[in-house]
Symmetry: C3
Subunit: 435 residues, 3 copies
Amino acid sequence: ELKAEAAAKKKKSNYKLGGRVHIDQWTFSESDEGINVIENEDPDFSPENRWLFRRIRLELAGEVPQNMLYRIQVDFNNPASAEIKDAYLGWTNLPNNQTLILGHQKRPLGLDHLNSSRYNVFTERPLAVEAFNEDARRFGLCMYGHNDDESVGWAYGIYNLENISTDGRFIGDSYQMGGYSRLWSSPWYDETSGGRGYLHLAIAGAVAKPDGDVGDDETNSNEGRFRTRPLARSDQRWLNTTRIPGADWYQHIAFESILNLGSLQITGEYIMTPLQREATPGAAIPADPDDLPGYAFDANLSRNMFFHGGYIYASYFLTGEHMPYQRSSGTLDRVKPHENFFLVDRMRGGRGLGWGAWQVAARYDFLDLTDGGVNGGVGHMFTAGLNWHWTPYSKVQNNLVYGSIDDSGLANLTGGTAVDAGDFLIFGSRFMIDF
Amino acid sequence: ELKAEAAAKKKKSNYKLGGRVHIDQWTFSESDEGINVIENEDPDFSPENRWLFRRIRLELAGEVPQNMLYRIQVDFNNPASAEIKDAYLGWTNLPNNQTLILGHQKRPLGLDHLNSSRYNVFTERPLAVEAFNEDARRFGLCMYGHNDDESVGWAYGIYNLENISTDGRFIGDSYQMGGYSRLWSSPWYDETSGGRGYLHLAIAGAVAKPDGDVGDDETNSNEGRFRTRPLARSDQRWLNTTRIPGADWYQHIAFESILNLGSLQITGEYIMTPLQREATPGAAIPADPDDLPGYAFDANLSRNMFFHGGYIYASYFLTGEHMPYQRSSGTLDRVKPHENFFLVDRMRGGRGLGWGAWQVAARYDFLDLTDGGVNGGVGHMFTAGLNWHWTPYSKVQNNLVYGSIDDSGLANLTGGTAVDAGDFLIFGSRFMIDF
Amino acid sequence: ELKAEAAAKKKKSNYKLGGRVHIDQWTFSESDEGINVIENEDPDFSPENRWLFRRIRLELAGEVPQNMLYRIQVDFNNPASAEIKDAYLGWTNLPNNQTLILGHQKRPLGLDHLNSSRYNVFTERPLAVEAFNEDARRFGLCMYGHNDDESVGWAYGIYNLENISTDGRFIGDSYQMGGYSRLWSSPWYDETSGGRGYLHLAIAGAVAKPDGDVGDDETNSNEGRFRTRPLARSDQRWLNTTRIPGADWYQHIAFESILNLGSLQITGEYIMTPLQREATPGAAIPADPDDLPGYAFDANLSRNMFFHGGYIYASYFLTGEHMPYQRSSGTLDRVKPHENFFLVDRMRGGRGLGWGAWQVAARYDFLDLTDGGVNGGVGHMFTAGLNWHWTPYSKVQNNLVYGSIDDSGLANLTGGTAVDAGDFLIFGSRFMIDF
């Protein structure tokens, strides 16, 4: 009878329902005039403090008999303007442990983007990862696979470059596409300790063809642009190349590594992005692309540009836990505290208290978006983090970010070219639960 | 104990969670100048190609003890502007196998609209069905029933004419209402072959009272209008009467038939729509209703107009399956491939391959929206379809549409009256999964 | 084995999925000229009738092991502009039967707001409750608890004053906060009759600090404002202080009582709201705050103002049921009809009919928002209600509202100061189901 039941189940689609709530607090403690201009177009008006829902996600995922899967994930953090996150269908059990997925999904570039926001060590993702893979998800077709013992994995796919998370469509005869691939391995993974020791190495690459000469009447926009916020939820992207006129091709080459030794983890990534412009004789350089006041390209834009960035962090559990790793996907996994947080009345009187897990971390970030006449800015940022894990499903992350931005055309107060924007100090907290 | 459990279950409401993801690709291969004008107001700018989420739906439906039901279905295909699809409550087990439903639901007009988008043979619904029952769902109260052996079924209800799928409300003292009804039967249904042979016949009718003289300060809009896209997801509706001034009453009379013989199905519908205008002496005819540049009514609009359209299609399974039919609702049902698609490594080496189900189909569509001074256009379209069913829950549909539009005031390049818009060729694919 | 299963369950998060559909009809039968001006800025254009989805909610709530909970509730009544309702995480099993909740949640002020919209006796909530706790939910941190026998309960928390239900964030350096608390008790609760007799008494208070001097370039808005609709879903709030310039502090003191004697319930609340303005020498009083044409403050605004309001209602079940009460939260609970509504064909022929539960109710509402130069209006309204409960999960509510508004600056037709807006008569129905 159980057999019959199992057989019947196999004929029906199934689902798993999940979700997450991430609540943020951001305090912009200190900021120089140039930073104020970038954020508010006013040297005397510093970035505003804020509380916000960073993520309110509902997700539904499951399988369809046989050998197909689906996933729908909607984010209501700004409820009147919901965003689609994952929305795809796929074919599983393909030869060589492969799965093929069609739809809105993450591009395989940047370890910290591929790690779920539920498992990231720091509140916001690194500059380089966010700048070169903005918002991570695009519409595409991607193959995921791994070898039998999961020591090597791969992903390769083709994606459209437009971000359609709020409107669900890309319209226009310029299909701006990119090919993305990632190859990862965990040459050392200590099974006997349950994965408390491992080494992760990966390389990723991409070749993309934006349309740097989109006409005014076309629906497409030039996707030759890299930008990111300052490791915090500011209004503006403080590092921003804006849309680069004539952008024709660009590439990414990225390196990842994780070394995990029990409670200690050391992780680093580096991403290089060369970009080639078309020679369009006599094409005017727009003075104020993207309606960013004060921003200007240099008079002579180069044919070839080079942007790059990276980060390195160390994290350590004071309470002895470790950051788990999932070999088949080459990403970090859910932390399980040795003891959950609790504060309860004991049956026999008195109070019981559990402390949860405590993790400290420090990160250095670097991103250079100024080259060849593009004045996107050069950022250096230091982040100190303290994570208090209440349960495997909930925690609070506290981040203190100190940084500086140089060579930025966005901070231009005087009508000249690039200037130093200055320094800033930001404190943020994220209260998180998922289920 | 099982009895007690069953009794307890009866006292609680239940739910079934479901959803669907439909991903479209549309390529506008060829288009004449008039078509370009209709779509883009520019004879030299052809319709833009596109990829889009056609449907990302989550739905929750169930029963409330006793004898009541509910259903909520939200579509996130354009996530920042979600749409409500079904949203209703109802009373079940009423005398004569009837169910009464109050809320946002489909109007019982047009077989191909009543068929779920999961089961439609062609990617987009026929011109006549979409033009005369645009988007199908309205707010209303409708009774559904059938006789004991399900050979005859009926639906009748009263609906508001305004489409409230994006704002959830109709406001204004003009309650523009319509009475809709449909009577269907399956005089032949071959039980012994599991429904591989059947004949479906149905008639549907409606009487609607739009308010063709809505004042400028009122919130209502004149719902005396019929329009549709060209069997593809273009930006504009290429056949469009626009809002007909003084529209006072209109009626629909519709005929449906399906003949299914094993893998072969032949289906046709025809819908007639007479419309009567009020005689408003001296009322000016607006030159450019609905802000459609170049469109104009004739100087003398008739008191009576007649619009009509229809289609016929044949579909055939190369792999032997058939299109199932649900007698109680008079609509098509889910196709079950004899063999699912799969491509797997076999245990003993080598690869296993399943081919899924393959279906070919051809449709001829006709719609006449030009009469009595209204220049909505006359369309003729031919569609060739190829469906590859991977599983009962997933497939890809490929459609090649060739068509022409004549007598259209929308394609007016010269300031004269109606002209021929010309021909076009469109190729579309839809990747679908539901659960 | 059951034990192992139970233990495994304890390690996984769980969820309960629910929802509700509320469908409204509102007919504005009679309205004087001043009312027409408030609603439509035109003395001859009376409020428009309407049908609307009042609520289309999906909710997901559950627990995370151990001792944490979450809840996400999204409202799609206006689907293209969804609203977040509950969105929070919390810690349970804290000492003294307490639970601490962080996120978007109801403020503990106004019994009728704390009662779920599923259980309210009248279609819309009382004037005073809605005016002084507009939309109830804010972002905050609140502790909820009760004593061991649940005869006494309490809630206290700190909330931001901005309504972020549509955008999910408050941005700006003015963190306008309020401390809210409520203490309730049920000194009499008749256990032997299953709670058919009880007395509820409660007191609630709040101290809030709005920023009445928000600068033009800041993202914050002055939250020193009280307003409400006329117990019906009109376009405008007919009683409205508008944003009070210089508002510096305000307080709420509120009293609640319920006396339930079997089928009869008598409930009343009274809320006082003193407000203190900053003395800003020479600050100009805006003539037309909030873009409400015709509205003006008096030339000399007082330093201190006093607004207040309340209501009393009696409800009675003709069919013998009672309104249940939940002691731990101090709120009303789900009504269970003795017999559900049904109309069915009997097996042996003939029809079976169940009548459901029938409840009549009458309410008097009072609200005074005119004081110290603020001309928000004084409203008196009488509501007669008839509720037909079909099942514990579904009913229709019918309300007839007769009211008058005096001393209102919103109804100013002549450019003078406050005038009498006049009388109105409204009929509304709400069709409801939840699951």
